[in-house]
């Protein structure tokens, strides 16, 4: 066998090249398994930064489609629920300058809100149920509707379709479960004597950081 190969250079060449190809193919197959990337990791990272309200104010059916669109080069300033904080976070992830929020898609509200249906005015038209992206509104045709406050993301998409304008956006009241210590405003107010220089400086600057 070995003699046969040694006497036939073409056979030797064929065996050598096919052997090499098989070895490299096996190595690459192994590497593909080991370095497997599930989905597009960039999309995952952007999706994590978005607020997951699924409100559709960006013009996409939810947060994940918008994340995919950003990964393909769309503008990052179309998310009003996330506001400037989300824009800054995505900008630092993608290493691009952070633009202002695009007013066309809505305005950032300073407090978190939930929808509230004034139930004695509701006529049971189900229009708000169809508009809700997270199925947080309960009710049936010609029967009163109500909002499941824990499910509502505060996207205010249900306000527009209501024919009798019985939906309000109410600020979320602070409860024992979501109450946090408020962060001290600046170190100068903790121990006034230690930072007297800074404090007087801050006063002249009108507050400081």
């Amino acid at each position: 066998m070995i003699e046969l190969i040694a006497q036939n250079p073409i056979l030797a060449a064929l065996i050598a090249l096919v052997g090499l190809a098989i070895i490299f193919g096996a190595l690459l197959g192994f590497a593909a398994e080991k370095f497997k990337v599930e989905g597009n990791p960039i999309v995952e990272q952007i999706d994590e930064l978005l607020p997951q309200t699924q409100c559709g104010q960006c013009g996409f059916p939810g947060c994940r489609p918008y994340a995919e669109s950003i990964a393909n080069g769309d503008a990052i300033n179309k998310c009003p629920p996330g506001g400037q904080a989300t824009i800054n976070a995505i900008a630092s992830l993608l290493d691009v300058p952070a633009p202002e929020l695009d007013e066309e898609h809505g305005q950032e509200s300073p407090v978190r809100t939930v929808a509230y249906i004034r139930e004695d005015e509701c006529i049971g038209c189900t229009k708000c149920i169809q508009a809700c992206p997270v199925d947080a509104i309960l009710g049936a045709a010609k029967l009163m509707h109500t909002v499941i406050a824990d499910e509502c993301t505060g996207c205010d998409l249900c306000v527009e379709p209501c024919p009798v304008d019985c939906i309000d956006m109410l600020p979320v009241a602070e409860t024992l479960t979501d109450w946090n210590w408020s962060i001290p405003k600046k170190p100068g107010q903790l121990i006034a004597t230690d930072t007297r220089g800074e404090l007087s400086h801050a006063h002249t600057q009108g507050g400081g950081a």
Partner: protein
């Protein structure tokens, strides 16, 4: 030790693959617009060059020479390069998705970077041993990185410089590359 230093200096400066031997000009022109992507490309190419130099030495010494198939070197080395580049692509996609996005089409195009094939072929014709040839591959990669990063830094400044209308864009890039090449010719005879 001194021998290794000589190999490094000779492959990085004296026989620089891009500016003295004029190999691998495609990524040198193509990816040098932004410093950041140039650094990524330089790292990826250095990785590929070092791995290719090692793998092609092994293939040459263990398969081609014993079977008397030296005439198949080119095709066998292209096989090696394609496999190594594919591996690098998977590796970068896993470790740095951002770099993967920035490099884009230039990553698979390392396969056709003639500096890579050039290093593999020159290693065998110079009769280097395993350590020497891998060091030679790394030196070639380091030389490529050096000039690519220098060139992209210069092109970033050229973009905002006041250049005559007829020299804008590719023309001034070519002129700059030519001047850099002249400067690197000055290293000849260093060792």
């Amino acid at each position: 030790m001194q021998e290794f230093a000589v190999i490094l200096v000779s492959s990085i400066l004296i026989n620089n693959y891009v500016l003295v031997q004029f190999l691998g000009l495609c990524p040198f022109m193509g990816v040098s617009n932004k410093l950041e992507s140039a650094i990524g490309m330089a790292a990826a190419t250095t990785f590929v060059l070092t791995l290719t130099a090692m793998a092609s030495y092994i293939v040459n010494a263990l398969v081609l020479e014993p079977l008397g198939l030296i005439y198949l070197r080119t095709i066998a080395f292209i096989l090696v390069i394609a496999a190594v580049v594919q591996f690098t692509k998977m590796f970068i996609e896993k470790t740095s998705p951002l770099l993967y996005r920035v490099l884009g089409v230039f990553l698979p195009l390392i396969t056709t970077n003639c500096a890579v094939l050039g290093v593999a072929l020159q290693n065998t014709s110079k009769d280097l041993n395993f350590v020497q040839s891998s060091l030679y591959g790394f030196g070639a990669g380091a030389g490529f990185s050096l000039v690519l990063i220098f060139f992209s830094a210069m092109r970033e400044r050229l973009a905002s410089a006041d250049i005559p209308e007829s020299f804008k864009g590719a023309a001034i890039a070519m002129v700059t590359a030519g001047l850099m090449s002249l400067a690197f010719m000055g290293f000849s005879g260093l060792v």
